[in-house]
């Protein structure tokens, strides 16, 4: 049953119950205009909605009843028991139909002519009702009958059993009280499924539960103290545990009642985008994913406006006009993609567009004009850092102020609003590929997990959402202990070297003007709470760190609101009041947020915050289903596009399924081996290779695209299944990772054997050595490069590569990973450049860190070029370029030199 119908049924059942009571009341006090108006309105609503939903039987009955009531309201009829009975009979009929609707989702067949006639008769003031066919001229009902559109549904819907034997109008006439007896209390099938509860009731419940959580925490604390003092587990332990569990469950339950699907906040967007598209003359498609993701209604209310603003921005600034897009080789219709999903205790919302991306040059110019930074400062910034200027107050890049956006209240307001609810916002943008804004917000505002710390003798809570890690640091360097980092000072400003990066520090005692508790640091060491604020990190120096505690956030008194360091206050388990620190406020007060330099430092320290990130980069994987319920995956970066293909678009050429795709034939390969004969539409993963005229593409037919997830990929190889690289645990599920190389050859046998233009093919293909410690990446690179016309040799480590060199193997180029155990990429390239036959070879670095610093470091070590991992196109382009630069036949010259050297 669709939602609309379900809503209608719930609403109608409520109205019917109300109507019963109201009608009986009207019978007693026929002059009560208020009651009459209420009845008329309720019946009118039912009629209107039925018409809208295409329920002709209901509409006809409701219409006839409304007709009677209308005349009563207008004073043309006086209320008599006869009229009331007739109307009640109509209500009963409506109820029957509604019940059948609820059971079968279709209107039951049946004849209401008699009832309608009785109603019409009543409307005309004829007191008799039951004489059936007297009314064959019902002025109002007739058009409804005659109209083929509203004719009762015939075979379209599921056949329905005949209506249950009904209270016929004549029978009802005699006993007017009867319908009431089975009135409101009679449970219809819809009744128990949903009830409407006032928001204030839910809010009240939430407050009570919050208090209960507090009291529970206090009790637990008391019990702990008691146990510690008396050294025995008192009889309270077990019931306390139960109370604790029940409280948690209750908290969760009440929280659920406040949850609403985020789709509620998105409802107006399709219309908005449509209007926007018309106003600015663009073609825009709005894709919404995860609309059913639920979050607290309070949060929902607060993100509604920022989201609307961002979608509008994407459409207005982000997407190009159709002709521009066509010229750029993109589909004419721009796409705005809204995605929502849960991750931990947070909800992630992404607003992405495939438009122009943020123009770094325009932002830079604007920054200079607005005086937000100097030329010198800008020079030192990466593109990402410059793009972040759009979050600064008063910044808007639209050259023209349009009616839609660009009024100067831009992303800074969005950012402030999101930070207000403890969220963060970040952006990624690529020229001509589009921009993606990612919002991370807590599911609920009422109860949060917080870390309790102490500084200057006072305790404070720091919301766990912003805490990245805890670090212990020494205050002086003169001990033998070298494993603990030391707090150093630059002109009195404390900083910390954390994994080779500088982390700005702020001393909470100083910041809050508390009295320093001298002499407490016997070990001369402090705790540093590393917090994440937007994209920046900051270390907060505290004296002590206690537990984490679930706290109920209460707003501070109005007379304290001006202190931006606090986001609220709360009562701890021991009954004391403590202030909740606002990391955003602290960052602002200390100037960390928004300062580009700090951002950059933060970026790096954030990269390192997950120690595993070095060896195990997270990889975006596209999850899909094909032939079976278990998910399959392919690295997203290998997929060029996703398409939705109707069955009729699939043609056959020489026995192979193909489709016309962008003016050419694209071979299709069903991943399951056969094309599902029952499916009407297919999801297609499009893989492309080469460019321009040389471009070839292949479509992999799968059953369904499931999701895109970012996860650390640890693949267990299994060689025995063709087409699969192996399996990995992705998003908590065992997932088959498919081997693209295999499927590419399925599409066209010559995929791997494309001769490079101008070469004869065969063995004169350029030879490339791939040095990569990860099995998975190696498995991916080899077929990718092979497909592009290279002969590929793979080495699992730098040592292995150097052994190959010493054994006299020769290549045209080397592609090497940077992060490898033992000898890393930098060391490898230094050794290659130092001496030996490979010293002039182009060496391309592959890395997951492609920041300017990394690139410079790489260049210094001797790499010819630097390519981000998985940037397949970039790698191939770089390889081509390197080979051209090294001379068209780099291989032969090198070999010659090798001979000379030998």
């Amino acid at each position: 049953m669709d939602d609309l119908l379900a809503d209608f049924l719930t609403e109608t059942n409520e109205s019917l119950a109300e109507l019963d009571t109201a009608l009986v009341k009207l019978e007693r006090t026929p002059d009560d205009a208020g009651t009459l108006a209420l009845i008329f309105r309720l019946v009118h609503t039912i009629k209107g909605t039925c018409g809208f939903l295409g329920l002709p039987r209901l509409e006809r009955v409701a219409h006839a009843a409304e007709n009677v009531l209308g005349r009563v309201r207008d004073g043309q009829l006086t209320v008599t028991p006869g009229i009331i009975t007739t109307v009640l009979a109509a209500l009963d009929r409506i109820k029957e139909i509604v019940d059948a609707l609820a059971a079968t989702a279709a209107e039951p067949t049946g004849d209401d002519a008699e009832l309608v006639a009785a109603l019409n008769a009543a409307a005309e003031g004829r007191q008799i009702a039951p004489t059936p066919p007297a009314a064959m001229r019902p002025v109002v009902a007739k058009p409804a009958f005659a109209d083929p559109v509203t004719a009762p549904p015939s075979g379209v819907q599921t056949p329905v059993p005949p209506p249950p034997t009904a209270t016929e109008p004549p029978a009802a006439m005699g006993q007017p009280a009867d319908p009431l007896a089975e009135g409101p209390s009679e449970g219809s099938p819809i009744g128990p499924q949903t009830i409407r509860v006032g928001v204030d009731v839910l809010e009240g419940l939430m407050t009570l539960v919050s208090e209960l959580v507090l009291t529970r925490n206090q009790l637990l604390q008391l019990a702990r103290v008691h146990e510690a003092q008396n050294n025995d587990a008192s009889g309270f332990t077990v019931p306390l545990q139960r109370l604790s569990h029940i409280t948690s469950d209750l908290q969760e339950g009440v929280m659920k009642t406040r949850m609403q699907p985020i789709g509620n906040a998105w409802q107006k967007l399709p219309r908005l985008v449509r209007d926007l598209a018309r106003d600015v003359g663009k073609k825009i498609e709005l894709v919404m994913r995860g609309a059913e993701t639920e979050l607290d209604r309070q949060v929902l209310e607060m993100i509604k406006d920022p989201l609307t603003h961002m979608v509008r921005n994407s459409g207005d600034h982000g997407l190009e006009k159709a002709e521009v897009r066509r010229a750029a080789g993109k589909p004419e219709t721009g796409r705005i993609m809204l995605t929502a999903y849960h991750e931990g205790g947070h909800i992630i919302i992404e607003v992405a567009d495939d438009g122009t991306g943020l123009h770094v040059d325009r932002i830079r110019a604007k920054v200079l004009v607005k005086g937000l930074a100097t030329e010198a400062e800008l020079t030192g910034m990466s593109d990402a850092e410059i793009q972040r200027f759009i979050f600064r107050p008063g910044f808007s890049t639209a050259a023209q102020v349009t009616a839609v956006s660009g009024r100067g209240v831009g992303m800074d307001v969005v950012k402030t609003n999101i930070e207000k609810i403890g969220g963060t916002i970040d952006l990624k943008s690529e020229p001509s590929r589009g921009s993606t804004f990612t919002i991370k917000i807590p599911l609920t505002l009422a109860i949060v997990s917080a870390l309790i710390v102490e500084a200057g003798g006072e305790r404070f809570a720091i919301p766990q959402i912003s805490v990245v890690e805890l670090v212990r640091a020494r205050l002086d360097a003169d001990t033998q202990n070298t494993t603990t980092p030391v707090v150093e000072h630059i002109h009195g400003t404390p900083v910390l070297r954390l994994r080779d990066r500088l982390l700005p520090l702020v001393n909470l005692t100083d910041l809050l003007a508390l009295r320093a508790t001298e002499g407490n640091h016997v070990e001369r060491s402090v705790h540093v709470v590393v917090v994440q604020v937007g994209t920046a990190s900051l270390g907060i120096i505290v004296d002590r760190v206690f537990d984490t505690e679930e706290i109920v956030v209460k707003p501070v008194a109005p007379i304290l609101r001006h202190i931006t360091m606090f986001s609220g206050n709360t009562i701890l388990g021991d009954g004391s009041v403590i202030m909740i620190l606002d990391p955003n406020g602290i960052a602002r007060a200390t100037g960390v947020a928004g300062i580009a330099g700090a951002d950059r430092r933060a970026d790096r320290s954030h990269d390192d915050a997950i120690p595993t990130a070095r060896s195990q980069p997270r990889t975006a994987m596209l999850l899909f289903r094909a032939g079976g319920a278990e998910p399959k995956a392919v690295p997203l970066s290998l997929v060029a596009r996703l398409e939705d293909l109707p069955r009729e678009k699939i043609e056959f050429s020489a026995g192979q399924p193909v489709t016309q795709y962008r003016g050419r034939l694209m071979p299709l390969v069903p991943l399951t081996g056969t094309i599902n004969p029952t499916a009407e539409r297919f999801a297609v993963l499009v893989f492309t290779d080469g460019d321009g005229r040389q471009e070839r593409c292949m479509g992999l037919l799968v059953d369904e695209i499931v999701d895109v997830v970012e996860d650390i990929l640890q693949i267990e190889l299994s060689g025995d299944r063709p087409g699969l690289l192996g399996s990995a645990v992705i998003a908590g599920r065992a997932t088959d990772v498919i081997d693209i190389g295999h499927w590419l050859t399925q599409a066209s046998q010559d995929w791997f054997r494309r001769p490079e233009p101008g070469t004869a093919g065969g063995d004169s293909r350029p030879q490339v050595l791939v040095v990569e410690d990860s099995d998975f990446f190696r498995q991916l690179l080899v077929p990718t490069l092979g497909a592009a016309g290279y002969r590929v040799t793979a080495a699992g480590s730098a040592t292995e590569a150097l052994r190959l060199r010493d054994a006299g193997a020769m290549f045209d180029a080397v592609i090497s990973d940077i992060e490898m155990p033992q000898i890393d990429g930098h060391a490898l390239v230094r050794q290659i450049r130092a001496s030996g036959p490979w010293m002039d070879l182009p060496v391309i670095a592959l890395t997951s860190h492609a920041s300017p610093e990394h690139i410079n470091a790489g260049r210094e070590a001797g790499f010819t070029d630097y390519v981000a991992k998985f940037e397949r196109e970039a790698l191939l382009a770089s390889l081509r370029q390197c080979l051209v630069a090294a001379g068209r036949s780099a291989a032969t010259t090198s070999r010659r030199r090798l001979e000379v050297a030998a």
Partner: protein, 172 residues
């Protein structure tokens, strides 16, 4: 008393005429040897010594916050609010008042009896009253042996970033 219940809290009345024409009941308290009164209808609670959490960076007058049966109450040091020196023995008692849905505790030296005073003994503020007293005084009652200053709670609680003497950011 019975008619008073229907009246808005006396503290909201700025005009001294009210005191001239109606009998009023006050919770009396001592601040630096001065007897003061707060209209009883504005008082929610009288507390003994409490654990008070300091609020860093707040104005000097804000003593901190305390937990009153699960509600967080902001404590205001009445001596500091009135520009008086700190009490040598501290201010152990407090009177809790509500304003705008929030609870505030006024820390005082001593809370004494509740008095009902006749309108005939009410006087407006003498013009010579020092500014920090006249700002918060709604008038004076002549008692037999001493004078009672009627405190204007609304004004006492109108504290914000603009109020006198906020602590500048930095060490105390």
């Amino acid at each position: 008393m019975n008619t008073n219940l229907l009246e808005p809290p006396v503290s909201l009345r700025q005009d001294t005429d009210y005191h001239k024409n109606n009998e009023a009941t006050f919770v009396t308290l001592m601040v630096a040897d001065q007897l003061c009164g707060i209209p009883v209808l504005g008082v929610r609670d009288v507390l003994g010594e409490q654990t008070i959490t300091r609020i860093p960076l707040a104005s000097r007058e804000i003593a901190g916050s305390l937990n009153l049966r699960g509600r967080i109450v902001t404590a205001i040091d009445l001596r500091r609010r009135l520009g008086l020196p700190d009490a040598p023995l501290g201010t152990p008692m407090s009177v809790v008042a509500e304003q705008g849905g929030e609870l505030y505790a006024l820390l005082v030296d001593q809370v004494s009896e509740v008095m009902t005073l006749a309108p005939s003994s009410f006087e407006p503020n003498p013009p010579t009253l020092p500014p920090h007293w006249s700002e918060f005084s709604a008038g004076i009652y002549r008692l037999q042996d001493r004078l009672l200053v009627v405190l204007d709670v609304t004004r006492l609680l109108s504290l914000g970033p603009t109020s006198r003497g906020p602590v500048p950011h930095g060490r105390l």
